[in-house]
């Protein structure tokens, strides 16, 4: 029985924590929000130098060839320190899609560049102000040329490439495009967490390369979402823990009515509830990490369970952290709002709470049939 990370993995996590602390990652996040730059390129370059973008890339392409577990512990720290970098888009989604589905030629070309930082990727699926489904994808591919418009694509401004979810007569497919082409126009769209910019991508007969099968791309997309959900969950876990730690710290120091506010049961019970939500999420994340690394058939259920628990935990912890801080929590000056924003970004990226609850129950129905 060992539902825990190894000592090496814990060491890696410790190093990641020290690094992001030393780099003052939370302050960098504030800097990005204030400047409107949408990403901290200096921090990103340092992360690339540390080799984190190549953690899961096999050694034959120059990567570290490690497992998802190493990625999980890094994700938790990136979440804890609000790192304003395109890690989730480029690593959990784009890199994983290339590793999982791309042809050998593409892997040879792209994977080494993801390690060196020459390529940064993202995934574009949404087209309207509603959840994307296989039925409402309109962006069309024909003769290896894409036309259409994607919106709310995270980190597309700094990204050099995208995986685009498209449709054709054959069905849904995933297509790789290069942002430097004239037929690709990336435009900034204002969003409620500008530390991670969102963009539209307009494609006018843009040349593309098929990634994976030409007809069952939606299944590939869903399967990619299942594994990404585990990684997002760990990032959400880190943010939940940071929000709880902030709230606990403030409740011990802030005095009202002649005593620390943390001595009032109204505050204690709120913080205990945050701890409960966080602990449930953490345990479900650990199980999902196991399911992901061991190719368990339980992955869809385990991933959805981790995702729902972590989304609930981060949303709860970040909003109640503001509440615990009172008026100060509502100011731009205190960090609370940055966690609140990031909790929302991470919870709607790859699909919101309702969608993942539905996936969870559907997966229970599915595994019950078999």
């Amino acid at each position: 029985m060992n539902l825990d990370f190894s000592n090496d993995q814990k060491f890696l996590q410790e190093e990641a924590r020290k690094f992001l602390e030393k780099e003052n990652s939370i302050n960098r996040n504030r800097g990005v929000l204030d400047s409107g730059h949408n990403t901290d390129t200096e921090l990103w370059n340092k992360i690339v130098d540390l080799g984190w973008t190549g953690i899961r890339i096999p050694e034959e392409y120059g990567g570290l060839g490690l497992t998802h577990l190493e990625l999980c512990v890094i994700a938790e720290e990136l979440g804890r320190f609000l790192a304003p970098v395109p890690f989730s888009s480029s690593v959990y989604l784009f890199t994983e899609a290339i590793i999982k589905y791309a042809s050998e030629d593409i892997k040879q070309d792209i994977l080494p560049k993801l390690i060196s930082g020459e390529v940064i990727g993202t995934l574009a699926v949404t087209e309207e102000f509603c959840a994307p489904t296989a039925a409402n994808i309109k962006t069309e591919v024909s003769n290896n040329l894409i036309s259409g418009k994607k919106i709310a694509v995270p980190d597309a401004g700094i990204a050099t490439h995208s995986i685009i979810v498209t449709k054709s007569d054959a069905g849904i497919s995933l297509q790789l495009i290069n942002h430097s082409l004239d037929e690709v126009v990336v435009t900034h769209q204002e969003n409620i967490d500008e530390s991670r910019g969102h963009f539209s991508i307009t494609l006018d007969k843009a040349p593309c390369t098929l990634v994976g099968d030409a007809s069952n791309g939606w299944d590939l997309f869903e399967s990619l979402m299942d594994q990404a959900a585990v990684l997002f969950s760990f990032e959400q876990l880190g943010g939940s823990q940071a929000s709880l730690d902030m709230a606990v710290g403030y409740a011990k120091e802030r005095y009202a009515f002649g005593r620390p506010i943390g001595s009032f049961q109204a505050i204690k019970h709120k913080l205990a509830d945050m701890y409960i939500a966080l602990t449930l999420a953490k345990s479900n994340c650990y199980y999902a990490a196991w399911a992901l690394t061991s190719d368990s058939s339980d992955l869809p259920t385990a991933a959805a369970t981790a995702r729902v628990s972590s989304t609930k935990a981060y949303q709860f912890c970040s909003k109640e952290n503001i509440q615990t801080h009172g008026g100060n929590g509502f100011t731009w000056e205190y960090d609370c709002h940055m966690f609140y924003r990031r909790s929302k970004l991470l919870s709607v990226n790859i699909g919101s709470l309702g969608k993942w609850k539905e996936k969870l129950v559907s997966s229970l129905e599915q595994s019950n049939k078999n």
Binding site: R259, L280, Y286
Partner: protein, 406 residues
């Protein structure tokens, strides 16, 4: 990460399993639970405990001299995992063995341990815990039952309440106030008492569920020899706290309706011409309960992982009762509501029985062994390190603490 036993653990599990298979029946799904404390249930529980004791399983972590096999914490968990797969009588010995045993082990004399621990483990003598009082619930230290020293004995007067199993217990552990002029937490002393002593009167309490698992216990000039004092005079609170810590470990997961029951039920239950599982609100709730149920299960696995490596587990298990008792109540509620008006009717259907029983029993579980509120205080203070509440009962002689009655 893996879910495998180490070779030694696998071997131990096999030994447990083999013995259980030879001595009990596997759970069949159909529950044949006799009503708690009935003579039939009591007799079955005694028989089972005796069998376990003879084979060393009764208190397997105890020293061999008291009937144990000196098992490690992880072996204890493996045993209880295996035992839980079998249909065996439960609920009679948890308090005695889980709470009274450790206190006796820590504070009783060598002679007393040799006299009392083996029959306790064997189940020949059943023990109960006498802490709560009508005016001392969450605030156990507010207890006012009185002990007056008289030479080498004490005379006890007062009333205890919520004492599980007192109606069939042979001995009990007892905390009482020996000096109301001292501070609240300093004026208490701890004893064990023969429940057959003259002057002890046990009155069962009828509960919401209709059953009576706990009692009022009256003490009228009950004589307790000073040799049955556990700890020093005035150490009563310290000893009681040791016991309560053990209680929080003993009271864990709620038994009763869980998410699997709700899910299975929803697939078959009609909801305006459609299966209930197609109802959005039902799906939303089932997703939440699944996350809670598995969050607890995986939390337990994390605790076991630490024990398995010989490490001290983190405080994560402290969330268990708050989460499971509330989940139980909500799932019971869901099952009854799904029947609409007919949800009021008693039925022989095992699912309906389970939902109604869970819904009626859950309020008790949210209170017993620390209320939801007290457990949140404990998480806040012990796990998160928040400061204690400001109190009106510190540094004041017990007799001067406001009670609202005077």
């Amino acid at each position: 990460m893996d879910f495998n036993d180490s070779p030694e653990q696998a071997e131990f599990r096999k030994t447990c399993r083999k013995w259980l298979e030879g001595n009990a029946e596997l759970n069949s799904g159909a529950s044949r639970e006799d009503s708690f404390g009935s003579s039939k249930h009591l007799e079955a529980a005694k028989q089972w405990q005796k069998k376990k004791y003879a084979a060393g399983w009764a208190m397997l972590h105890w020293p061999k001299s008291y009937g144990g096999i000196e098992a490690s914490p992880i072996e204890r968990i493996i045993w209880s995992e295996e035992e839980s797969k079998f249909n065996v009588p439960r609920g009679i010995y948890e308090i005695g063995l889980g709470m009274c045993g450790p206190v006796m082990m820590q504070y009783a004399s060598e002679d007393q341990k040799s006299r009392f621990l083996p029959p306790m483990a064997e189940g020949k003598e059943i023990w109960c815990q006498l802490f709560s009082e009508p005016s001392a619930g969450s605030d156990v230290a507010g207890l006012r039952s009185k002990a007056v020293q008289d030479g080498d004995k004490w005379i006890v007067n007062g009333q205890k309440v919520w004492t599980s199993g007192a109606q069939f217990c042979d001995y009990g552990i007892l905390v009482v106030r020996h000096d109301a002029n001292l501070d609240k937490h300093k004026g208490m002393t701890f004893f064990f008492v023969d429940m057959k002593s003259p002057g002890i009167e046990v009155k069962p309490i009828k509960q919401i569920t209709g059953g009576s698992s706990f009692n009022e216990v009256y003490f009228n000039d009950v004589v307790i020899p000073d040799s049955q004092r556990l700890g020093e005079i005035g150490d009563g609170w310290k000893v009681a706290i040791t016991t309560l810590m053990n209680e929080r470990l003993a009271v864990g997961d709620a038994s009763g309706a869980d998410v699997e029951d709700a899910f299975r039920w929803a697939k078959n239950q009609d909801d305006s011409g459609e299966p209930l599982i197609n109802n959005k609100a039902a799906r939303d709730s089932i997703a939440d309960w699944y996350c809670e149920a598995n969050g607890l299960k995986n939390t337990k696995l994390r605790t076991m992982s630490a024990l398995s490596k010989g490490e001290t587990p983190g405080p994560e298990a402290s969330i268990t009762k708050v989460v499971s008792a509330n989940k139980l109540q909500n799932i019971g509620n869901f099952g009854i509501d799904s029947l609409d008006m007919a949800g009021m009717l008693k039925s022989e259907d095992p699912d309906i029985k389970n939902f109604q029983g869970s819904w009626l029993g859950a309020p008790g579980l949210r209170i017993a062994g620390g209320t939801d509120e007290i457990l949140r205080n404990i998480i806040a203070e012990r796990v998160l390190g928040l400061p204690q509440d400001q109190r009106a009962d510190k540094g004041v002689a017990f007799k001067d603490i406001p009670t609202g009655n005077s």
